[in-house]
């Protein structure tokens, strides 16, 4: 196992774009080479080591064998673990936008909060956030028909709006509340929300959304039977009928 530890040298006022912080990018490089990887702060291109202290095992290894440990405040650092296919990125703190963009494998674990667009267009692998996440967890890019296609996202806290927009596969679990419109245009993924939300499943054509707490349900969902899961009653809905959708929406009835 090869471990590399990265610590910010300062508090970033202007956000940093660091798509090179990923196990795949590090795999074939030694520490010196990793230090000279490009990173952007606004319109200034810098070396990774200009902004971060980097330590760890020098010998190159495959992506699977790499653990990247991020210590400190990464809440203004974007695109961490973008496109990674294997290995572990472990954040002891919070991360900025677009963490785990287009991830295909491996594990991204965040002890703090994640900002907007977490795991946008994810294909595989797993993302775990102990805190809260922002808007657009596991969604698509603007104008794109497909968001997340595979993999697993687990948020222990709450998430913002548009969770899993254009979801095409994979699963998202939110422990707390989710903002407005989770699972909009869902085409086959599953979303679980432990808390409450607002207008889930708008225009969903397939897939399933489960809301344990309360949810305002659209008038275009058809009320079905009550189902029991693990001893909890859920009202089942079918929709979204505006598009003749065949999605399944379950909303808890116990709490209200």
């Amino acid at each position: 196992m090869r471990t590399i530890t990265i610590t910010p040298r300062e508090e970033f006022r202007i956000s940093v774009e660091a798509e090179n912080i990923s196990s795949d990018k590090f795999a074939s490089l030694n520490i010196e080479q990793i230090k000279s990887l490009a990173v952007w702060q606004g319109n200034r291109q810098k070396a990774l080591s200009d902004l971060f202290a980097i330590e760890g095992d020098d010998a190159p290894a495959t992506a699977e064998e790499i653990t990247i440990r991020l210590l400190g405040d990464f809440s203004s650092v974007k695109r961490i673990a973008e496109g990674m296919t294997a290995g572990l990125v472990e954040v002891q703190g919070s991360v900025g936008m677009h963490a785990g963009n287009n991830m295909k494998g491996g594990l991204l674990s965040i002890t703090g909060d994640a900002d907007d667009w977490l795991a946008r267009e994810m294909r595989g692998g797993k993302v775990v956030v102990m805190g809260d996440a922002g808007n657009y967890v596991g969604s698509g890019y603007r104008g794109e028909k497909c968001g997340m296609r595979g993999g697993e996202i687990e948020i222990k806290g709450s998430a913002g709006a548009y969770v899993g927009e254009h979801l095409c596969g994979g699963s998202i679990s939110i422990g707390g509340n989710a903002g407005d419109f989770p699972g909009a245009a869902n085409q086959g993924g599953t979303i679980f929300i432990g808390g409450s939300t607002y207008l889930p499943g708008a225009e969903m054509s397939k897939g399933a959304i489960t809301v344990k707490g309360e949810a305002k349900v659209l008038p275009s969902f058809q009320k079905m039977e009550i189902v029991q899961i693990d001893g909890v009653d859920f009202q089942k809905y079918a929709g979204d009928l505006v598009d003749n959708g065949k999605g399944e929406l379950l909303v808890g009835v116990g709490s209200s």
């Binding site: 907007d116 922002g134 808007n135 657009y136 913002g160 709006a161 548009y162």
Partner: protein, 124 residues
């Protein structure tokens, strides 16, 4: 009184929006429209002021009765006074949530701040 705040264009606001430092703009925009019933229930009369408060800020405006408004909705012409009550979050799409904000409305004897006073704390 709890109410939902909305903001929008008015003719007078539009006519004055390129002369924002003028008294006309102040007169046209530092207003809070209330439904007839809300206006009366707050004990207001023409020329009286109201204080609007929410989690983002507070602002004093001249109250104005507006027959077109439903109860519990207050309307403020778009501009710097209305924006005191708007939060900075952009909901993931770049646009602040300008309309449909919860506010607390009460009659007040405090004066309405003019445009320079409104921005005096920003180093203006």
């Amino acid at each position: 009184m709890l109410a939902t705040m909305i903001s929008g264009r008015t003719l007078a606001q539009g006519a004055g929006c390129e002369s924002k430092m003028s008294p006309d703009f102040f007169k046209a925009v530092a207003l809070c429209h209330l439904s007839e019933r809300d206006f009366k229930s707050l004990g207001l009369s023409e020329g009286k002021n109201v204080l609007l408060k929410n989690e983002f800020g507070q602002v004093v405006l001249t109250a104005k009765m507006d027959a077109g408004l439903p109860e519990s909705i207050v309307f403020i012409p778009m501009g710097p006074w209305a924006n005191v009550l708007v939060g900075k979050e952009t909901g993931g799409c770049g646009t602040p949530h300008f309309k449909g904000l919860e506010v607390d409305v009460a009659a007040t004897n405090s004066p309405v701040l003019n445009i320079c006073e409104l921005f005096s704390d920003m180093g203006a």
